[in-house]
């Protein structure tokens, strides 16, 4: 009887389990494998792959190597795959783009077949072009993951920092965490006192304060972003108001910059800070502060020694919730921010949809996913410890 009950439970969960494995776990692992897979070259050059295995990586190309590559290139009939391979090779060794187009054109000329590659272009004599091909033939690579944190391998294969002109990702990672930290800080500064005031009130006043938090929470994210777009623009209400007050002469730049992003994200994420703190605060008995006062504690001291430690758990979970949400934000920076305010999600989206560079999109995705999951596990532990919660 117990067994059949367990069986029924599993049967009930199976559809969602399968659905999530198929459309949640699998996509994520696909993304991860994209970040380490590197078959753009191997796919098209099977013969060269065989021959290059015996190459000493120093001397010039042997005839066998040239023939194999020519065979491989002649066999390619998929222009997109060829483009992918050329892009991959060009990123390892610049000059490949022109070299390849010249080579494929020559190979296509069936009336006048070239004897070897060197006769098409002298550059094929240089071992470093062959080295780039040889390195690109391995099906697995860590270059995307390394590149995601601005690292790369030098000619010897040792890991080193990329030159400054290629170090874009670390800047964006730092920026992402910095913006998320600022937003979390702003939310805590507003959210903690707000939750405390709400918890100290009763009746309609408390309801009003909670409704003011819940209404934006329930409202579409796009509507809220659009609203801030309207408020913050050059001729928006905020600038109008400040000018009417004669506090400023010309309009302040509030949109398409960091200020706008922080303001809008704080507005969007503030409820996630207020609600956990509020839910902790209302469980704290109301007579603790009077009790501390009766024991001789000054109100400020009583707050620091009694209320603050007890509500810290709420602040911590609220802060984590805000921070986790903030580091993955895409829409608000995309619409309110300028080019200098784009966060890691925007870069991932750019690699994925803009340049179809799945490897880099995947690698940055792995970094963001790892950061999110680590923080979430801390959050889950915090809320699991919460007393009196199922």
């Amino acid at each position: 009887m117990k067994k059949s009950r367990t069986g029924r439970s599993l049967l009930l969960m199976a559809p969602l389990l399968l659905f999530l494995v198929g459309f949640f776990v699998w996509p994520l692992s696909t993304m991860m494998s994209e970040s380490v897979s590197d078959t753009a070259v191997l796919r098209l050059l099977p013969r060269s792959s065989e021959v290059l295995r015996d190459w000493d990586r120093k001397s010039g190309p042997t005839m066998a190597m040239q023939t194999a590559l020519m065979e491989d290139l002649k066999a390619v009939n998929d222009d997109q795959a060829l483009g992918d391979m050329v892009r991959r090779l060009n990123s390892a060794r610049s000059g490949f783009r022109t070299l390849m187009s010249k080579t494929t054109t020559a190979l296509a000329d069936t009336a006048n077949p070239p004897a070897d590659l060197v006769s098409i272009d002298k550059r094929w004599e240089k071992p470093d072009f062959w080295l780039a091909i040889a390195d690109a033939l391995s099906p697995l690579t860590d270059r995307n993951l390394l590149a995601a944190v601005d690292l790369g391998r030098n000619a010897d294969g040792a890991i080193q920092a990329l030159p400054a002109d290629q170090s874009v990702n670390r800047v964006i990672l730092v920026r992402t965490f910095w913006i998320a930290a600022l937003v979390t800080f702003a939310c805590a500064c507003i959210g903690f006192p707000y939750a405390m005031i709400a918890a100290s009130l009763t009746g309609w006043k408390r309801d009003l304060m909670l409704a003011a938090v819940l209404l934006p929470l329930w409202t579409s994210l796009l509507v809220r972003t659009a609203a801030w777009f309207i408020l913050l623009q050059e001729k928006g209400l905020i600038n109008d108001f400040l000018q009417w007050l004669r506090l400023i002469d010309g309009p302040l730049p509030l949109i398409f910059n960091r200020t706008g992003v922080i303001i809008a994200m704080t507005h969007v994420l503030l409820p996630f800070m207020v609600l956990p703190i509020y839910s902790v605060l209302i469980t704290i008995p109301k007579n603790l502060m009077p009790a501390a006062a009766s024991l001789g504690a000054h109100p400020l001291r009583a707050f620091l020694r009694v209320l603050l430690p007890l509500s810290l758990r709420g602040v911590a979970s609220g802060g984590l919730l805000v921070f986790i949400s903030a580091i993955g934000y895409y829409i608000t920076p995309a619409l309110i921010g300028g080019p200098g305010d784009q966060m890691i999600s925007s870069i991932i989206a750019f690699y994925a949809t803009g340049s179809a560079n799945w490897g880099m999109a995947g690698a940055l995705g792995v970094v963001l996913l790892a950061a999110t999951l680590v923080l979430y596990s801390v959050y889950a532990r915090l809320s699991a410890e919460e007393p009196g919660r199922r």
Partner: protein, 260 residues
């Protein structure tokens, strides 16, 4: 009482910060101008008309309704069944399974979007309604699970035992006792699933083609490319719907409370 005044000022300013943007956008829905700024020259309904007649907006609204309905059905069925399964404490890895069910809520949408785009393309589901509904269901299902497991946890198991002892077979217990008691949770899960689908942009960007442009997606590109008061009109509809749903929830709750 300077302390009290400080508190009052702080609370009022924060409420203003939270609510004012939502209120400020509303009148602009009725502007006759083509730009989204105050002061409003004169009032008209032209942007609502635009919303319902312009091809892009009309299609977007219809798409949102189709995809939202599909997502709601799929997420509610999957989520409710799974929540019922999760009730059984004897199931191995119950905690891990539950975490898996809730994780889509946490994973950044862009990361999931990249993965789904690659995977759905392999299945030929990219740029299809089915693909978008699947993507939306992944992120909507945690809301259903949270809501339904909450409702189920509120059911006293002894009530179900009592029904058995009074002669109800397991299916009858489910039909007459468990399901009616879990219904509020199922319904609010469904509403949340619909709302999630309606508001979802990022996954839609990755998996939807031009034919599956949803209202949220249309608003996104409209803000980005050519912002017009149609945005305000759409926002007006969103906010009005939010308040209506909120009121409906409050009223039905108080009616339920009275009935009980």
């Amino acid at each position: 009482m300077p302390m009290k005044l400080t508190k009052l000022t702080f609370a009022s300013l924060t409420i203003l910060f939270l609510v004012a943007p939502l209120i400020a956008i509303l009148p602009l829905a009725f502007t006759s101008s083509v730009i989204l700024t105050y002061p409003i020259p004169s009032y008209s309904l032209r942007w609502f008309e635009e919303l319902f007649t312009a091809d892009a907006w009309r299609r977007a609204i219809i798409n949102s309704l189709i995809i939202g309905t599909g997502t709601t059905l799929l997420a509610t069925v999957l989520g409710t069944a799974a929540s019922l399964g999760l009730r059984n404490r004897l199931v191995f890895f119950r905690g891990s399974i539950r975490t898996l069910f809730l994780l889509p809520m946490v994973v950044p949408a862009v990361v999931l979007g990249v993965g789904l785009q690659v995977l759905l393309a392999r299945f030929g589901l990219i740029n299809s309604y089915a693909g978008v509904i699947i993507a939306h269901t992944v992120v909507a299902v945690p809301f259903v699970v949270v809501s339904v497991t909450g409702a189920l946890a509120g059911i006293d198991e002894r009530v179900e035992l009592a029904a058995q002892s009074l002669g109800a077979s397991p299916t009858t217990v489910f039909r007459r006792v468990t399901l009616p008691l879990a219904m509020p949770g199922v319904l609010s899960g469904a509403v949340l699933a619909f709302a999630t689908s309606l508001d979802e942009v990022v996954l839609t960007l990755f998996v939807a083609g031009p034919n599956q442009r949803t209202l949220a997606r249309q608003m996104f590109s409209s803000i980005r490319e050519n912002i017009s008061p149609a945005i305000a009109a759409a926002a007006f509809l969103f906010i009005a719907a939010t308040i209506l749903v909120g009121l409906a929830v409050v009223v039905s709750r108080s009616m339920l409370a009275k009935r009980r």
